[in-house]
Symmetry: C2
Subunit: 422 residues, 2 copies
């Protein structure tokens, strides 16, 4: 099954916000063994969308469209699909009835604007929306099947599962080549390429690809071996080689998010963590508490942005701040110690640095960030000089580094069940 | 100038991370009055990318490609562009020299893998990369101009500015219709459409479009009036009408990010803020401290995830927690009061709720979130029952709501220079 995705909306096209639906759909279909071949973003233009749908229907078996099904006149997906199929639009009584029920369930009358949402291209199958007002539809276009889903992620998600995933299950995906993923932190693409050498050749088996996001280098290995056993052997050999080459950077072979790997490790070791943040301003705590069930490992964090907060909340001494400055390994260590002492957490991590754009000096430039961890009262600290690539970037990579340093310290200790990555 | 953007990468296509380059390019070109007509995401496939480039070059004057210029063999943009232009590849001595200098400046020898980055399609113009190893290129393809830029955002950004923006300045963008934007919080698209009525008709002047992200409804008004004066009058009238209709929801007419509008308002009123967070776990503090210069208005935040932390750090009484539960307006008020008292901030905001997926009860379901603000010692609290649309969503919309409630409270007070939105 060859799949294309279309995201519709002037605001997506203008870059007001990124298209997050397409990545989510691609990930979900990927789990089913279906690769997406093309993603397109177009504006709220009926003619353009119609032409794009026709073109994609020629080259792909399935086209998933998100967006443009709202009640307002800039929602043109219904009209564009009808135009592409050279058919008309008709009000679906079933859709209208379900819209009325949706509003009745909320004790309000249906706004007349929403009548538009009951229109469907003739010949289309209605896709019910259990969590919102916009129904979707499924339409044959050339030899392809078009699924039109609403744009709001939560509505898209439910209907993707109920309709598209269901349909692909029934119509059978093409077999996909087996793959493995490995996630590294603090390793650049160039160094990786240099280290692996001919393993990355175009015709190597397995094929090795890599990409970087927020400091995490993800390596994908895909086997082209003709049978599953040989594929497994080939992937085993290549992953073993990569582990050997880059072990200090490897943090996971399944989960790409550092905070989830860290939370898992904390749970396995029945260890709790506390955070003390200056320049990251709560990002580390927000990442950790974003993991479901975080309360088992996290009780409390300190966002001590000012010197006063570092003194009063964490007991960092005024003399220490005076002598070394707020951005120093010494202050980071004192922050971590203060956080551990006040919370009783076994592991504490502290971050203090200069995120910019202002506040840098020749001795302490923008991008200088100091980190400390304290594990069972044993302190350790380090500093990084990140390139000054913008406040957001410095903060994000600092938060990621803090998580990685915590993970490293935990894994230095033998644990029940061994301490190998994952 | 009609512009298309292509983002290249298997990982983007597989949804491992979203394409953030294209929105950034679209926003930048939008500032120049140039609208992007199409965005495409494709994988690391030379043939596919070549075919796509040919197709886009037929319909657009400019094609901006990002990604696929790295040193590894899965970086195929150079080869695909050469294939599309039916030309060969040659090593650029200039590029090779600059690569060697780049590495020399860092005291290391150039890895041989990077030699690949000095390849250019014949006839292409080299675009120097001052901040990384991947040079870009500019190539005539059919009647179109193709710009190939590196994928890492910081490198893309610099070269977009130096090359693409420069080129568009020299080659003159088409005049674009004047537009205005308005940003609302807590207003659904349906309610907006119902309220504005015929203002949103397809042929209304100005044309009104809207979109929602993280609870923020952005309305774009575009005039099609033939001259600037009539366009201004038409936009003035429409924005005045929308202000009248939805004033309580309107928070900005320029900046779409709530935390930036709030920080600006705090600076203007010389007011400081403190945060006390349970379910949002540091997100509110991270948003506020993400604004450059945040230290002028923010000294400290508390991430009190456990009951113990609420008691010990914020002085919430055990009896109160017992009587009302941690998720209650009473506890939210006590958290805000504790944060204000301990930090001396004039404004404090507290959030406590059930983000899920677990922890809900019939009386306090997942999605119930309580908020309190304290301004000059005057408390106020409220609760929201958000739909249980996932932990991330509940946390994000809760953090946004906290920012909006702070902004509302500040704006109730007359300030120097008036208290109108923005």
């Amino acid at each position: 099954v060859s799949v294309a995705i279309v995201a519709v909306g002037d605001e997506l096209l203008a870059g007001a916000h990124p298209d997050l639906n397409s990545p989510e759909i691609a990930r979900r279909l990927g789990q089913l063994g279906v690769d997406v071949a093309r993603v397109c973003v177009v504006g709220d233009q009926e003619e353009e969308l119609a032409a794009l749908l026709l073109g994609l229907a020629r080259d792909h078996a399935v086209v998933v469209v998100t967006g443009g099904l709202g009640p307002t006149l800039d929602d043109v997906t219904r009209h564009a699909a009808a135009r592409a199929a050279e058919t008309g639009l008709a009000t679906s009584e079933e859709a209208l009835e379900s819209l009325r029920r949706w509003y009745a369930g909320r004790g309000v009358e249906m706004p007349t604007a929403n009548r538009r949402q009951a229109l469907l291209p003739e010949g289309a199958r209605l896709l019910a929306n259990p969590v919102g007002t916009a129904p979707g539809f499924q339409l044959a276009l050339g030899g392809a099947t078009v699924f039109a889903l609403p744009g709001p992620p939560r509505e898209m998600r439910v209907m993707l599962e109920r309709e598209v995933v269901e349909w692909i299950g029934a119509n059978g995906p093409a077999a996909r080549s087996p793959e493995r993923r490995m996630h590294f932190f603090g390793l650049s693409e160039s160094l990786f390429a240099e280290g692996v050498g001919p393993l990355m050749d175009r015709d190597a088996e397995p094929r090795v690809g890599c990409s970087v996001a927020d400091g995490v280098l993800t390596v994908v290995l895909r086997s082209r071996a003709p049978d599953p056993e040989r594929a497994r052997a080939s992937l085993d050999a290549a992953t073993a080689r990569l582990r050997e080459l880059f072990l200090p950077h490897l943090f996971s072979e399944d989960e790409p998010r550092l905070e989830r790997v860290l939370a898992r490790e904390l749970v396995q070791r029945a260890t709790t963590i506390a955070t003390a943040e200056s320049c990251t301003g709560g990002l580390v705590a927000a990442l950790v508490t974003g993991v479901p069930g975080a309360s088992a490992v996290f009780g409390e964090g300190f966002v001590t942005y000012s010197d006063r907060a570092k003194r009063e909340r964490l007991g960092v001494s005024g003399a220490l701040l005076e002598r070394h400055g707020a951005v120093s390994r010494e202050v980071a260590e004192a922050m971590a110690a203060g956080a551990a002492e006040r919370t009783g957490a076994e592991l504490a991590v502290a971050v203090t640095g200069i995120a910019g754009p202002d506040g840098g000096t020749p001795a302490k430039p923008v991008g200088l960030v100091c980190f400390a961890t304290l594990l069972s009262r044993e302190p350790r600290s380090t500093e990084r000089r990140f390139p000054a690539l913008g406040r957001d970037w410095v903060r994000t990579v600092s938060a990621q580094t803090a998580l990685f340093l915590c993970l490293q310290r935990l894994r230095e200790r033998p644990a029940l069940g061994g301490a190998r990555p994952d």
